[in-house]
């Protein structure tokens, strides 16, 4: 242990993580050199489009990608001072579901359709935390109450199909909470839900995060979701984090052109009808064949010659916590 200097190590520190998939057509660099830290009780939003690697990153952290022999990892995932990549499988199982829990995008598919809600909730308690069947049931009812499910005792005997999408996502959150996790990873938890339900679920996640001083990684494609809830944001593009900062700072003063372009391509509620959107030309790169240099250079309107030659590192100016990976960043004073 470190001597008591007053500085706690971060809850989670990801160091130069690579997750590559071996495919018949080559190596897909889904996550390619990602580093970040997350302190206790904070919510980190990870934003990116499809194929940016945000979901693979979340699954890499708790190592639940399919074990079909096609996954290649490199780098470290340090949780409370231990590198999870070096843990034996048994110890890693203790981390999953207890220290780190996960909520998935679509509650239609993330709950087992042929198992009752009760068992899906209590099995974590009885099998991982040594609860008796009776105690687990009591605890399960408490958990369902905590996530705002009415009449929890009756719900235990239901199958997922009997619940609405919003209710299922609440159950999925209750399952995640059963292990009393220190870190909750929510992978697009509201994308499959209606807007009015989306707000309810995000509010619930935020309330639980604060009550339990839980760290949360919120993965989303929606900048609006991040803006309303996350303490800090990381923007991913083609398997890398290209910008990372405190939320307000990042949204007010994006430095990486991709972040700016992403923000400008979203229709704003405050803009009048028929406002021309600034779309990003081209397509995100093919992960089997990523461009050299900065991965965004082909679509970047500020790109210069050397952008295609050298890859910009993710760095911050001294004294600032605003990290970005760009040779020619946007002016720090410019408002988005």
């Amino acid at each position: 242990m470190e001597p008591a200097t007053g500085r706690q190590p971060p809850l989670l520190e990801v160091v130069d993580l690579h997750t590559h998939f071996v495919t018949p057509r080559g190596i897909a660099r889904a996550v390619d050199g990602v580093s970040f830290r997350l302190e206790r009780g904070r919510m980190l939003g990870i934003v990116g489009e499809s194929g940016s690697g945000k979901s693979v990153l979340s699954r890499s952290i708790i190592d639940i990608l399919a074990r079909d022999g096609t996954v290649r990892y490199r780098g470290q995932v340090v949780f409370e001072g231990r590198d999870l990549r070096q843990l034996p499988p048994k110890a890693m199982r203790d981390v999953r579901g207890r220290d780190i829990a996960m909520v998935f995008q679509d509650p239609m598919t993330s709950l087992n359709p042929v198992m009752k809600i009760g068992l899906q909730l209590t099995e974590v308690l009885t099998r991982r935390r040594g609860f008796s069947a009776r105690a687990a049931r009591t605890r399960a009812i408490e958990l369902l109450n905590a996530v705002g499910i009415a009449d929890p005792e009756r719900q235990l005997a239901c199958y997922p199909m009997h619940l609405s999408g919003g209710m299922r996502q609440r159950v999925a959150i209750a399952i995640a909470l059963a292990g009393e996790p220190k870190l909750l990873i929510a992978d697009e938890p509201t994308t499959a839900l209606d807007v009015t339900i989306q707000g309810q679920i995000l509010d619930l996640l935020q309330r639980l995060q604060r009550q339990r001083n839980m760290a949360v990684i919120l993965i989303t494609h929606d900048l609006g979701v991040v803006a309303g809830y996350a303490d800090e944001v990381a923007v991913m593009y083609a398997g890398q984090i290209v910008e990372r900062s405190e939320t307000g700072e990042l949204l007010r003063r994006p430095r990486m052109p991709y972040t700016e372009a992403l923000m400008k391509s979203v229709p704003l509620m405050s803009a009048p009808p028929h406002t021309r959107l600034q779309s990003i030309p081209g397509l995100p790169p093919n992960l089997l064949d990523v461009p050299g240099g900065c991965r965004f250079h082909e679509r970047c309107r500020y790109a210069r010659e050397d952008c295609s030659e050298r890859m910009p590192p993710l760095t911050a100016k001294s004294g600032s916590d605003h990290h970005f990976a760009c040779w020619y960043p946007l002016a720090a004073g410019a408002e988005a």
Binding site: I62, A66, R96, R98, F104, S110, V114, E123, A172
Partner: protein, 320 residues
């Protein structure tokens, strides 16, 4: 259970169709039961005697009339008497069915005990070495028909090693082991031939299931791999297997006929062959009817099993 009632109503036309078709087909068999009864007798050439026998058996009447008479008797639980031995066919079946049923159940249980764990393992480690070995082995078995394995087993276990009897049967009252040892080789012969199909089907479903989010969630819960495979993944992966199981029973019935004859097991398979040899039409008819009903009942059970496997089949939520 309105669904079940509807299925049962559908069975009525099926029953008439199957019994009438088999009645017609059996009667189209070349040869004559009179030849079998009179065997090598010179009397075989006596036309008057022949007509007399036919009239006694009711064979002088038209096919349709005989079918209706047969149906009438059947409705009173009378399957008729064997033309050859004069024994009641109902009694014959009651003697023979348990033997066949025991062989069938043992074979299926054996096949599933082998196929389910191997299928799960194969799906879990798909395209790895262990999966290739299992799949390769399965292909090997598929290539050999059951009667060849049957003969091979007799040669190895009965002739070379002298561990098990080559053929025959001992009823239960001789003791459980006495009874079972006659069943082991036929069970292996039939069961093994079913393993590859069960295994392949389960493997494919298992691979699909293991890619589901709820499996990822189960892993994220920190549950152990065997628990995830058996509790979370197995049940949703059983659909095709259960369907195939129902369909295979039909094939199994034909397999039983051959294997029972090879091992001289007195089940209905052996009875069927003997009856066909003797043109004992009513016996053949009874067996065909029985197998058809058994087949339909088994597939009905399969439908019920679907509902048990997946609550979504029987209970629909409010919104369609």
């Amino acid at each position: 259970m309105a669904y079940l009632r509807k299925r049962l109503l559908h069975l009525i036309p099926v029953f008439f169709l199957v019994t009438f078709a088999s009645f017609t087909l059996v009667n189209l068999l070349p040869g004559d039961v009179v030849d079998a009864i009179l065997a090598d007798d010179q009397a075989a050439n006596d036309p008057e005697l022949r007509r007399q026998i036919k009239a006694d058996l009711g064979l002088d009447k038209p096919l349709l009339v005989r079918y209706v008479v047969w149906l009438g008797d059947l409705s009173q639980g009378d399957l008729g008497r064997s033309y050859i031995t004069g024994k009641k066919i109902g009694d014959l079946l009651v003697q023979r069915i348990p033997v066949t049923l025991q062989l069938m159940v043992m074979s299926l249980v054996f096949a599933l005990l082998l196929a389910v764990p191997l299928g799960i393992l194969s799906g879990y480690r798909s395209n790895r070495a262990i999966d290739r070995w299992i799949s390769g082995g399965a292909f090997g078995i598929v290539a050999i028909p059951p009667f060849v394995t049957a003969i091979l087993f007799i040669w190895v276990f009965a002739v070379l090693l002298d561990l098990l009897p080559a053929a025959g049967h001992a009823p239960m009252f001789f003791g459980v082991w006495q009874n079972l040892k006659y069943f082991i080789l036929p069970m292996l012969a039939i069961g093994l031939s079913e393993v590859p199909i069960f295994l392949r089907v389960l493997r494919v479903d298992m691979i699909t299931t293991l890619q589901e989010d709820y499996i990822a969630l189960a892993r994220a819960k920190g549950l152990s791999t065997p628990y995830i495979l058996f509790r979370h993944a197995l049940r949703p992966s059983l659909f095709t297997l259960v369907t195939v199981l129902g369909l295979q029973v039909g094939r199994l019935i034909s397999g039983l006929v051959i294997v029972e004859n090879v091992f001289a097991l007195p089940g209905i398979g052996k009875l069927l062959i003997d009856a066909i040899d003797a043109r004992d039409v009513l016996v053949v008819q009874a067996i065909v009817t029985f197998s058809a009903i058994a087949y339909v009942v088994i597939n009905l059970t399969v439908d019920v099993l679907y509902a048990i496997l997946d609550p979504r089949v029987s209970q629909r939520p409010g919104m369609a």
